[in-house]
Amino acid sequence: SNFSRLRLHGFKSFVEKSDLDIGPGLTGIVGPNGCGKSNLVEALSWVMGETSAKRLRGNGMDDVIFNGTTGRPARNSAEVSVVLDNSERTAPALFNNTDEIEVVRRIQRDVGSNYYVNGKSVRARDVQMLFADMAIGAHSAAIVSQGRIAAIINAKPAERRQVLEESA
């Protein structure tokens, strides 16, 4: 299945609803320092089931919720969704009955997050399994966050084996 759209609403600096269409080939993302490019990458990891706030540069998971600017108040919830094109019906059986699969993660301040697939509430594990079957996930080597490109080479040999297992 292909990734076709990422939508953020209230996630970090993306307080307004924002859509990123993911076309085939190479999509470049540009902009000045601090404008929100790496926040987009973290939104993708988060909707795929990221459980570590630290990997999202936060102290607690609530740090992903828009925390206000000098001109706007903080929010109390955030939502990210990713739409997968499943017209070739290659998704795992549990989710393979529609042309599109929309995975949503929603967080409420001080409450926690919920996951939905095509509107149905599911567990975090279900979402993590859905992506793992597609050889992708929050901790996949295919998501190279800023400053981490050399991390594979600098990793300890035992950690490197784990990365290889992912491509098995």
Binding site: S1, N2, F3, K12, S13, F14, E16, S18, D19, L20, D21, I22, G23, P24, G25, L26, T27, G28, I29, V30, G31, P32, G34, C35, G36, K37, S38, N39, L40, V41, G68, T69, T70, G71, L84, M134, A135, I136, S140, A141, A142, I143, V144, Q146, G147, I149, A150, I152, I153, N154, K156, P157, A158, R160, R161, L164, E165, E166, S167, A168
Partner: protein, 163 residues
Amino acid sequence: ARERLQQAFDSVNAHFQVLFTRLFGGGSAHLAFVDSTDPLEASLEIFAQPPGKSLQSLSLLSGGEKTLASTALIFAMFLTNPAPICVLDEIDAPLDDANVDRVCTMLEEIVKISKTRFLVITHHRLTMARMDRLYGVTMSERGVSQLVSVDLQGKFDFLEAAE
């Protein structure tokens, strides 16, 4: 599980050797299981030798050389078990212009042979120019990010300029 890991190793190793030599314009590199004969227990060691240099520990490679070797390894894993999406956040930051060009060429080749979709974050003009489409992220209202699709013919300058 042991067999699958061995097969993955053979494939990643074969691709890594080819991609490394392509990105460095020569030299050689390979992977090896060490510390145990059982792949499930062993550690993965990486050997890399840039063209004309003696084989030495990875830690002596330069910042740019480490980036190139890592890129070759990531793409080798890709070709073994392609992920549907790949995100690269400023991997071109430590590279000189010649190596930015080589990495972009390799990206274009991988796109031709696989269905993988790439999101490439960059400040480098050479990389921007090789993209199929561009999105700009701006903060015209301070602290609030907005996504803007950039007409490729349009100037990138407004995006990189200071607020």
